[in-house]
Amino acid sequence: MSMAQQAEPAVTTPPAPGPKETDGRTRERSVAVRVFARPEVGVFLGAVAVFVFFLIAAPSVRDGGSMATVLYQSSTIGIMALPVALLMIGGEFDLSAGVAVVASSLTAGMLSYQLTVNVWMGVIVALVVSLAVGAFNGWVLMKTGLPSFLVTLATFLILQGVNLAVTKLVTGNVATDDISDMDGFDQAKAVFASSFDIGGVEVKITVFYWLVFAALATWVLLRTKYGNWIFAVGGSQDSARAVGVPVTFTKITLFMLVGFGAWFVGMHQLFSFNTVQSGEGVGQELIYIAAAVIGGCLLTGGYGSAIGPVFGAFMFGMVNQGIVFAGWNPDWFKAFLGVMLLGAVLINLYVRRAATRR
């Protein structure tokens, strides 16, 4: 979380009182160094490496339809990895993000079914619930000053229990009822879970949302006051507060942004599978965090980008599906995944070191 790495995005903020030694910001740097100092360069190279590797190792990856599958997998991770990354740049992280997705789809599914209302009602209420969970995380965090690890671990456990208990209480089963024959379902499916044809290849709509959200997040991060606040609160909360950054507002809204992402992915799951099992989602939070970290966000906050996690999620999807496309022995599946990801992170680290070396 050194101030040096925060260079570009923070230039328009009033300089936070940090260490006073020469940290590279005042020196002219060559274009190459400036490009390589971007957080997403390492992961970009890693993603290219993984992509080329599977292009060679697995012939079926070369097919356009296969790429659509890889992108679909990447997009459902990537849409959540974006707000998770922003939150991480803001200096916090969220362990409840995985079960929050399922909580949102359970809410929408059960509400529409039990009250027999148009599914859009469920969708709206689920959004309110998801944002409220995010706000709760942020509010408890700011109110108590506890680390986000503890606060969101508690929320993770609460949601996991509530997901199961409430579903069982309401439906009598541990899965929601099928809502595919209800009013509004087809519309909602068109919005959240449809696919469209690009040159004969079926591409899922989530891929499109993923890229749009990423562009939006990049713009917010680099071109708006709010973006500067995110870097500032992640870099040094006290200094940020001292220069007038609304720390509480920034952090709570960041958690709510994660809530929004959870809602969006939750709606996708509900409308593409019609029903949800209440035990799902556990463990996904680590994958979102992994995608953000691979994407160049520091676990300590204050540094990162929105485009990096896009490549991080792509890399995850690529490795995940690439192993299947390559037809390798599936017993080694998880081990392959781990080795690939470690390799990617190392490339990432190497590039960053090389670029910031003086």
């Binding site: 296969s66 099928d178 595919s180 799902e280």
Partner: protein, 340 residues
């Protein structure tokens, strides 16, 4: 600091949204199709009167992971038997073997009149089951542990041999003319699931390979199965090991443009609909309701009439029962209540 209008408007936002939601409901956007209203007919599960025997307590301790539809059905069976037999049922579960052993110890400490237990990891339960024996508490096994229940001194066993079920499914694939099958495992390292695929492999004459998917993330399951189908165009049958994964496999088949048929282990209410529609070829049902029901009922019979199912020598098999087009109508009625 920042206790300005930001904070206030934020505090009111959820309330406003809730009010708006309520208003919308009142404005009448009820669904004209589907939903609870459409499903509200019929009674709630089997009922067979009630025994007037003295109240007894039975502990059912399983290795269920939270939120799994399968175990919910086992529990419903056990509850139905408990209601009928005037039994107080104490249900607890933990997928971690050590924790499950602690739950059995907990039941012994409570001095229950009988324990029904699943033996997913028999070695971990060995010592605690010895303690139950010493305390004079009768123990029955269910679901998993067919190879070990006698060794561990259990009184009787209700379940399905996972390998036998797999073998039955393999034979059925032969009859259907399958040549290349894929066994989709949704939890890497689960012994029972691996045994099923091994069983299929034993009797299936074509070639079969395993595919691991991340069972806690449905979009991931879908894209992995799609990837497999695209990688190998010769696959003609997919075997899934749980009903929700079968439903997802059907979508993957649709999207990959493959012609593969889907067969599965275990049932739920969505799945019976898919069999009726012809989306899924058949399901091998181990009748989890029966496992829960018989385990509790077995303990009741032992206490009140000294009976042993299987004479303490043979297990009582609850499956494999095939559900396909020919009998799905009869099964669907029960599946819709979540008991089959």
């Amino acid at each position: 600091m920042d206790r300005s209008s930001h904070a206030r408007s934020r505090r009111f936002a959820p309330a406003v949204a809730l009010a708006a939601a309520a208003a919308l409901t009142l404005a009448g956007c009820s669904s004209s199709s589907g939903g609870k209203k459409a499903d509200e007919e019929g009674d709630s599960g089997a009922s067979a009167g009630k025994a007037n025997t003295p109240r007894m307590t039975v502990a059912l301790v399983t290795h269920q992971a939270p939120g799994d539809t399968f175990w919910d059905i086992v529990r419903k069976g056990a509850e139905a038997a408990a209601a009928k037999d005037n039994v107080k049922l104490v249900y607890s579960a933990d997928p971690n073997a050590g924790n499950q052993a602690n739950l059995v110890q907990n039941a012994i400490d409570q001095k229950v009149d009988g324990i029904a237990v699943t033996l997913a990891k028999p070695d971990a339960l060995k010592s605690v089951l010895g303690k139950a024996e010493k305390a004079g508490i009768p123990v029955v096994g269910l679901n998993s542990g067919l190879a070990d229940w006698k060794k561990l001194g259990l009184m009787e066993f209700f379940g399905q041999d996972e390998s036998v079920a797999g073998e039955a499914l393999g034979k059925r694939l032969n009859e259907d003319g399958a040549k290349n099958a894929v066994c989709v495992i949704h939890e890497q390292g689960n012994v029972g699931l691996t045994q099923r695929c091994e069983g299929v492999k034993k009797t299936f004459e074509g070639s079969i390979e395993n595919l691991y998917v991340n069972g806690t993330d449905m979009p991931s399951v879908k894209s992995t199965v799609t990837a497999k189908l695209k990688q190998d165009g010769d696959i003609d049958h997919l075997v899934t090991l749980g009903a929700p994964f079968a439903m997802t496999a059907v979508q993957a088949v649709d999207e990959s443009g493959s012609e593969a048929e889907v067969a599965t282990f275990d049932l739920n209410k969505e799945l019976t609909g898919a069999i009726e529609k012809g989306d899924i070829a058949f399901a091998v049902d181990q009748q989890p309701y029966l496992q829960g029901y018989l385990a509790v009922d077995g303990l009741w019979l032992y206490k009140n009439n000294g009976n042993y199912s299987g004479g303490g020598e043979q297990p009582v098999l609850t499956g494999p029962a095939f559900v396909d087009e020919s009998n799905v109508k009869a099964v669907a009625e029960f599946a819709s209540k979540g008991t089959r």
